[in-house]
């Protein structure tokens, strides 16, 4: 367990170094708001003030010290001179709220869909299974950038709500949350169905059926409970889905969150902001994967991190 946590920390440090070094290759315009009007001497002084003329290892070290003080740097273009930590503190709550709601929605919709599909494989027409499979194929195959767009276009028309997000109007929350959830809904439904069908073919289930245990009870008490365990493995993945989806969805609906912010500062070429936000996203995903692994060990006592991981 401790080894896994250490691993995550090491990974995080390496990611920070890589991102930092890569972003040093950027054109220096990204560090000044009014680059064109500055003289060469002014630029030199500016770079020196930012510590960008130091040798690279020293810069990396300084950055780590800065990070440990909880300082993410200051914005150059988005809001000149503003502390990035402050900007993010303003933006993060919206993203977190939407992310959590969408996570709940995808569980609440994906699991029942998976159960329905698994059950209908036993019926003759397999109606639900077919409907669900079409949904899964479409969601998995069509690029998310495209279906998010179509959801926004036709969803807003269908529901008669604005295409843009408004914190105060509850109706405008529906579409972004739906957009963010749909990928995870398909994901959960697909895997839950597979695990349930596998489980339902096992001998002890056949015995229970032969004994005359009602189908609903078998499904609820035996099949579902065993099938849900490996699904925990997919929770970190779905966190990543939501995070990356939020980059696109947030800027599509003009949601004042962090995902939209990253897209915005990329367009503005604000180097320090890009750096800070990429790091935050990387950190969240590293932590998400760590959290998923730990959760697995909690849910299933057979899994532990002291033994050698054979399957990796």
């Amino acid at each position: 367990m401790l080894k896994r946590v250490l691993h995550a920390l090491v990974t995080l440090c390496i990611v920070i170094v890589i991102v930092f070094v890569l972003l040093r290759q950027m054109p220096i315009e990204g560090y000044f708001n009014n680059f064109d009007k500055l003289s060469d001497a002014q630029i030199k002084v500016g770079l020196q003030q930012l510590g960008l003329t130091d040798p690279l290892p020293k810069q990396v070290l300084n950055y780590f010290v800065q990070l440990l003080h909880g300082d993410l740097g200051t914005s150059n273009k988005y809001r000149e001179g503003y502390s990035i930590a402050k900007i993010i503190a303003q933006k993060a709550p919206v993203s977190i709220q939407i992310g959590l709601i969408s996570f709940a929605v995808s569980l609440a919709a994906g699991l029942p869909l998976g159960i329905l599909m698994a059950r209908s494989t036993r019926t003759r027409l397999k109606v639900w299974d077919k409907i669900g499979t079409v949904l899964i194929v479409v969601v998995q195959a069509v690029p998310s950038a495209v279906y998010h767009l179509l959801i926004q276009l036709y969803g807003s028309e269908l529901l008669g709500v604005s295409m843009l997000f408004n914190t105060r109007s509850a109706a405008t929350w529906i579409l972004p949350i739906f957009s963010l959830s749909i990928g995870n809904i398909a994901y959960y439904a697909m895997w839950l169905r597979r695990y349930m069908v596998d489980e339902a073919n096992k001998d002890y289930i056949r015995l229970a059926r032969a004994k005359g245990v009602p189908a609903a009870r078998i499904s609820r008490n035996h099949v579902f409970r065993n099938a849900i365990v490996p699904l925990v493995q997919y929770i970190p993945n779905s966190i990543l889905f939501t995070l990356m989806g939020s980059l696109y969805v947030e800027s599509l609906y003009s949601i004042p969150g962090m995902g939209g912010l990253l897209v915005q500062v990329i367009k503005l070429q604000d180097n320090t902001m890009v750096q800070a936000l990429v790091l935050i996203y990387a950190a969240v995903s590293v932590l998400g994967l760590l959290f998923g692994d730990l959760l697995m060990a909690l849910v299933d006592p057979r899994i532990s991190f002291t033994a050698k991981e054979g399957a990796r």
Partner: protein, 342 residues
């Protein structure tokens, strides 16, 4: 005679018949034709020497299983037609150039935002370029990007996967490396690389290649670890077969179907990512028609219902290609699994 007595006589006759058959065993099959009876076989020396033989061929069985799946065959036809058409389209008579801005011959004014008609089949865009030609040119660009990425992923991923799985000394090194890089979301790498480098086809291909091979390498590695110490490979090694030959002749043929599946899924993913980075504004330059650029241009106009065709046509082509590749890829993987060959 009553009906009952008639039935009784019939029954008696049948019982007598059965009784006769029981007492005389040969009578039981006396009325069977000759060829249904057992006859003693001759002993044939040449047949006793013949070795076992089955006309099972892996690819034959795979193709047969694949063509049984009607939905997959339909989508395969769609792919073939679309890919062929992207190359045929510029050669057809009466086509517009995808980059030319069309002017009205009478007035000399640009034909902007013309709805689809007989001259411009998909209409024109906001600066008067023919959307039909642009859609197919864009499909060409995007498919090219997807194919390049998929090929790189297959080659490099397989190479690293084989090293990782077959060379025991490298196992820990690659596993640690994988655990680090797998933690970084692909989208972030894509954004970062596209942000740092100049926008262009090369940049996008490079950014997508940078991360795509990870999954492939890991998959190949796991498969190789499973099969590398099977008896036939052990025998090969004992007989002094070189490592290169074991890898290319014993291990890789086993994995061809999986590699093909991952390639077919990498193409839609690459196209999707291209659309995404173009949306963020760090994708291809706008003068190169690509599906990403077309979707992005259409998106800007989508609030006006009369101009929505500019979004819907490229989107429809895009969705058609990606869904087809996905379905065909999965059907092929199922067909390539020997467990499904009967």
């Amino acid at each position: 005679m009553t009906f009952r007595s008639m039935k009784a006589a019939q029954l008696e006759a049948a019982l007598n018949e059965d009784l006769k058959k029981q007492t005389d065993p040969t009578a039981a099959y006396a009325d069977l034709p000759e060829e249904e009876l057992f006859t003693p076989a001759d002993f044939d020396h040449s047949r006793a020497e013949r070795g076992g033989y089955s006309n099972y061929s892996y690819w034959g069985a795979t193709l047969r299983a694949f063509f049984k799946n009607k939905v997959a065959v339909f989508f395969l036809c769609v792919i073939v037609v679309v890919v062929a058409f992207t190359f045929i389209q510029p050669l057809l008579p009466g086509q517009h150039d995808p980059k030319t801005i069309n002017n009205d011959p009478a007035t000399g004014v640009q034909i902007i935002n013309r709805a689809p008609d007989s001259e411009f089949w998909f209409g024109t865009n906001s600066i008067g370029q023919d959307l039909w030609a642009r859609t197919w040119a864009g499909t060409r660009t995007s498919l090219g990007i997807g194919l390049a990425v998929a090929c790189f992923e297959a080659l490099f991923g397989t190479f690293i996967g084989v090293l990782w799985g077959y060379v025991r000394k490298l196992d820990t090194f690659f596993t640690e490396l994988y655990n680090i890089f797998d933690n970084v979301p692909q989208t972030l790498v894509l954004i970062l690389v596209s942000y740092i480098m100049n926008p262009g086809v090369g940049t996008i291909i490079f950014a997508l290649c940078l991360t795509g091979w990870l999954g492939m390498a890991r998959f190949i590695r796991n498969q190789i670890v499973i099969i590398r110490d099977r008896d036939y490979n052990l025998a090969s090694r004992c007989l002094g077969t070189t490592t290169g030959r074991i890898v290319t002749k014993n291990l890789l043929p086993y994995l061809v179907s999986v590699i093909a599946l991952r390639m077919s899924l990498a193409i839609p993913a690459a196209i999707g990512n291209e659309v995404f980075v173009t949306y963020i504004g760090i994708g291809l330059p706008t003068d190169i028609p690509s599906l990403g650029n077309l979707v992005q241009a259409g998106r800007l106009l989508m609030s006006q219902p009369s101009l929505r065709y500019q979004l819907l046509f490229p989107t429809a082509v895009l969705a058609l290609i990606t869904i087809s590749l996905y379905v065909v890829g999965n059907a092929f993987a199922d067909a390539a699994d020997p467990k499904n060959h009967v």
